[in-house]
């Protein structure tokens, strides 16, 4: 069994779906989300690492994290956990925060639903992201989606150059 990723998006409904086949049990994959030390090893790219200062997968709980740019600037973010069914599904809302960690209401919010299913001796992870509005996406583009600053903008440039 090999690692595989598939992605689709629905421009009209501002929804993006990414599916990956991972070589581990759903319980093990769940830990990638539940353990803040493991989470920060994959959430941000090495050039834009994430630090989770508060994180507990309990409905209603708020996660606090920040991303650190190559220049050392930090961009604070938050999650609110909206549904937890370990190790099957997780739902959360992801947004930007003010310097003191309180949610920045003027910034776009992304809703995410993550599901894990045993498949092919490993786990199929499906991630559905939904943007509140195209204006929100527009802002995220301007912000480079926090961590994506270097990554995404570089990719956009490469795509547009084609």
């Amino acid at each position: 069994m090999t690692f595989a990723i598939d992605a689709t998006h629905d421009t009209e409904n501002l929804t993006m779906t990414v599916v990956a086949q991972l070589d581990a049990t759903p319980e093990r994959v769940w830990q990638l989300w539940a353990d803040p030390r493991q989470l920060e090893r994959w959430w941000g790219p090495p050039t834009y690492p994430a630090t989770f200062t508060q994180h507990d997968l309990v409905v209603g709980s708020t996660t606090a994290y920040h991303m650190t740019s190559p220049e050392g600037d930090t961009v604070p973010g938050w999650w609110v956990i909206t549904a937890v069914d370990e190790p099957r599904s997780l739902e959360l809302r992801d947004g930007f925060a003010e310097g003191d960690g309180t949610p920045d209401e003027t910034m776009p919010i992304t809703s995410m639903r993550m599901t894990l299913e045993p498949a092919e001796g490993g786990t199929r992870m499906t991630l559905v992201s939904h943007f509140d509005s195209l204006e929100g996406m527009e802002k995220l583009i301007a912000m480079g989606m926090k961590e994506g600053m270097t990554l995404a903008m570089g990719q956009i440039e490469a795509i547009l150059a084609n």
Partner: protein
């Protein structure tokens, strides 16, 4: 091949133009077949002037072109710009693809999946390889 880049201003205009349901609907219609502004205006519960304004916003974003033909103003879609907007969305997918690749690399540090004992609970799962 002609290299044609969108500037940040152009990207902003495209996303602003597509942030409205009527404008998205207009784009979808004129991609399929060019239409006159008056035909478009008949389809919406708004004034001819309002539809004309929407078309002007789309035109500024280069999503559509407008040409005068006799008494009619004909609107057609610009496939190239629409494809570029599509590609912007795709770059967000790439962020998640990168994340999945990092997850996969992290899981690979555990060794073969078959050797993995199931974690007893969510709090004392194996944390092997997470402190590097």
């Amino acid at each position: 091949m002609v290299v044609e880049k969108l500037t940040q201003d152009e990207i902003d205009r495209i996303f602003h133009a597509l942030a409205d349901a009527t404008r998205r609907d207009i784009v979808q219609r004129v991609i399929r077949a060019e239409q006159s502004v008056s035909t478009l205006a008949d389809r919406y519960e708004m004034s001819f002037a309002a539809v004309q304004k929407h078309v002007a916003v789309l035109e500024r974003a280069s999503l559509v072109h407008k040409a005068r033909r006799g008494r009619e103003q004909i609107v057609s879609g610009d496939i190239g710009t629409i494809q570029r907007a599509e590609q912007l969305l795709r770059s967000y997918e790439d962020i998640w693809k990168q994340r999945f690749r990092r997850m996969n690399a992290l899981l690979a540090e555990d060794g073969p999946a078959t050797d993995l004992p199931a974690p007893a609970s969510s709090t004392d799962a194996p944390s092997k390889g997470t402190d590097t």
